[in-house]
Amino acid sequence: MPADVFAKKRRNSLLLFLLIGAATAVSIIITEFSIAKGVSSVPKAIQWSLSNFYPTKDSLIKLPDILIKLKETLLISVAATTIAGILAFAFAILGSNTTRVNGFFGGFSRGIAVLFRNIDVSIWALVLLFSFGQSSLTGYFALFFGSFGFLTRAFIETIDEVSSSSVEALQTTGASYLTVISQSVIPSTIPQMISWVLFMIETNIRNATLVGLLTGSGIGFTFNLYYKNLSYDIASLVVITIIISIISIELISNYVRRVIL
C-alpha cells in the first residue's frame, strides 16, 4: 500500500510539472517572448543603467519640483487609503458573518467588494480620466476604489477571525447591536485593521506612480516626462526619491506594526 501511495504522489507531481511546462511553452509562444533576448537584456540593462541612469549635479536643480510632486502623490495615497478604510469598515461590518444585519446586506457588501477589488486601479484611472481630467482627484478616486475593495475583504476576514467569540459573549448579555460593535468588534480588530491600512498605503504609493503615468499627474507624470525626453539623469533622481519614500514608509509601518500587534 505505502509504495502505491508514493507512486501516485510521484505521478501527480510529474503531471503537475508537465502541465506547468506546457503552459509556460504556450505562454512563450502567444506573448512572443524570447528567452534569449530576455536573458541578454538583463546585463544590457544593468550596463545601461550604470552608464546613464544616475543623477548628475545638473539634475539636482529639478529636485524641488520633484519633491512637490512626490508630496502630492504621497498625500493622495494616504487620503485615498484612510477614507477607503473608513468606508470599508462599514461594509465589512455588514459583510462579516459575525456582525451582519441580515443575509441580503451581507451578500450585497461582499459582492460590491469583489467587484471593486477585481477592477484594477489602471482601469479606474482610465475611466475616471473622462470625468475628472488631469486633476489630483482622478488619482485619488482611482486609488480609493481599488483600496476600498481590498480593505473590505481584509476587514471582513479580520472581523470573522478575531471577534466572533467576544461578539457572542456580549450578545448573550443582551447588549445592543451598536454596543457590540463599539465594545467588542472595534477594540479587538483595530490593531489588525491599522496594519492593513498601513500595508495599503505602501501599495498605493507604488500604484500612484502607475496612475500618474496613465493620467498625467503626480510623480508618475514627472518620471514619464523626463523619461520620454531622454533626460535619464533626472528620471533616475525621480526613481531615487520614490525608493527613499517607499522604504521610509515601510520602516515606519513596520515599527507601528511591531508596537500595536
Binding site: I30, G38, E72, S122, L126, S135, I260
Partner: protein, 290 residues
C-alpha cells in the same frame, strides 16, 4: 482618563508588598504602549488626510458635477458594452496574451525566488548573506513595477521582453520575502535533527524545508499570479506590453469609447474573479490537507 484603568477603585491592602506590586501592575492598562501607538497613527492619518484634501490640485473640477458624470460613464460602461475596434475572438486572444505574461512572470519569479528565498532564510543560510539578499530585495520592491518595465524597455525595446523581465523583477522581490519568511517559521528542531544526523544542505532543503512549507509556497505563488494578472493589464496600458491592457488604453486614450472600455472591463473582471475563486479553493484544500 482611560489610561487609569478600571482596577483603581479597589483600596490597596496595606503593608503587603506583593499585593501592592500586583495592584500597580493591574492598575496600568495593559498594552498601553500599543494603545498610544494606535491612537497616534489614527491621529496622524486623519491630519494627513485633511491636509491632503486642502492641498489637492483641483484644476477647476466641480466635484459634484464630475461625480455625476462618473456615474453616467459607469452606466455607459457596464450597461451598454460593445466591441467596435476588434472582434470577440480577438479580445479573447488579447486576454490570453495578458494571462500568458502573468504566467511567465510568475513562473520565472517563483523559480528564482525559491533559490534566493533559501539563501535569504536566516535559519538555513549565513547571516550576512541573508541580510544582503533581504536588503537588495527590499530595494527592488521599492521601485514600482511600471518603472522597472520602462527601465528595461530602454535596453530591450518596448514589448513583451521588457514587460516580462520588469514584472519578474518585482515578482522575485515579493516572493523572496514571502518564501523566506515561511522558511524561517519552520521548526528549528527538525533542521537540527537532520544536521545532527549528518545531512548536507541540499538534503535539509529537500527533506525538511520544501516539504514543510510547500503549502505556503503554493498559496503565495498563486496569490502572486493573481496580482501579476492585474499588473499585466496595467503594463499593457502604461508600458506597451501588449494584451488586453493595451486595447483598453487605446479605447480610453484614442477612441474615447466608454462602451468598449466596459466590454474590456467585463473580460478582465471575469478572469480576475475566476482566479480569485480558484485561489480560495486552493487555500481551502491546502488547509484541509495540513
Amino acid at each position: 482618563m482611560q489610561a487609569e484603568g478600571p482596577i483603581k477603585p479597589f483600596p490597596a491592602p496595606a503593608g503587603q508588598d506583593l499585593d501592592n506590586m500586583l495592584l500597580e501592575r493591574l492598575s496600568k492598562k495593559p498594552f498601553s504602549k500599543s494603545s498610544i501607538a494606535i491612537r497616534m497613527s489614527m491621529l496622524v492619518l486623519a491630519v494627513l488626510t485633511i491636509y491632503a484634501f486642502s492641498s489637492f490640485d483641483y484644476k477647476d473640477v466641480k466635484l459634484w458635477d464630475a461625480l455625476i458624470l462618473t456615474i453616467d460613464n459607469l452606466k455607459t460602461m457596464f450597461f451598454e458594452p460593445h466591441l467596435k475596434h476588434f472582434t470577440f475572438t480577438q479580445a479573447l486572444y488579447q486576454v490570453s496574451i495578458t494571462l500568458g505574461l502573468a504566467f511567465l512572470t510568475t513562473i520565472f519569479g517563483a523559480i528564482i525566488a525559491l533559490m534566493l528565498g533559501l539563501l535569504a532564510a536566516g535559519n538555513i543560510s549565513s547571516k550576512p548573506l541573508s541580510v544582503i539578499i533581504k536588503g537588495l530585495v527590499a530595494l527592488i520592491r521599492a521601485v514600482p513595477t511600471v518603472l522597472w518595465v520602462l527601465i528595461f524597455a530602454v535596453a530591450a525595446g518596448l514589448g513583451s521582453v521588457a514587460a516580462v523581465i520588469g514584472m519578474t523583477f518585482h515578482s522575485i522581490s515579493y516572493l523572496v520575502k514571502a518564501y523566506s519568511e515561511s522558511f524561517e517559521e519552520i521548526d528549528k528542531g527538525a533542521i537540527e535533527a537532520l544536521q545532527a544526523s549528518g545531512a548536507n544542505w541540499w538534503q535539509i532543503v529537500f527533506q525538511v524545508i520544501i516539504p514543510s512549507s510547500i503549502t505556503y509556497i503554493i498559496s503565495w505563488t498563486f496569490m502572486r499570479f493573481e496580482i501579476n494578472f492585474a499588473v499585466a493589464v496595467a503594463m499593457g496600458a502604461a508600458a506597451g506590453a501588449g494584451g488586453i491592457g493595451f486595447d483598453m488604453f487605446m479605447a480610453s486614450g484614442f477612441y474615447f469609447d466608454l462602451s468598449e472600455i466596459g466590454a474590456i472591463t467585463y473580460f478582465i473582471l471575469i478572469i480576475a474573479i475566476c482566479l480569485e475563486i480558484f485561489a480560495t479553493q486552493i487555500k481551502r484544500k491546502l488547509k484541509e490537507a495540513s
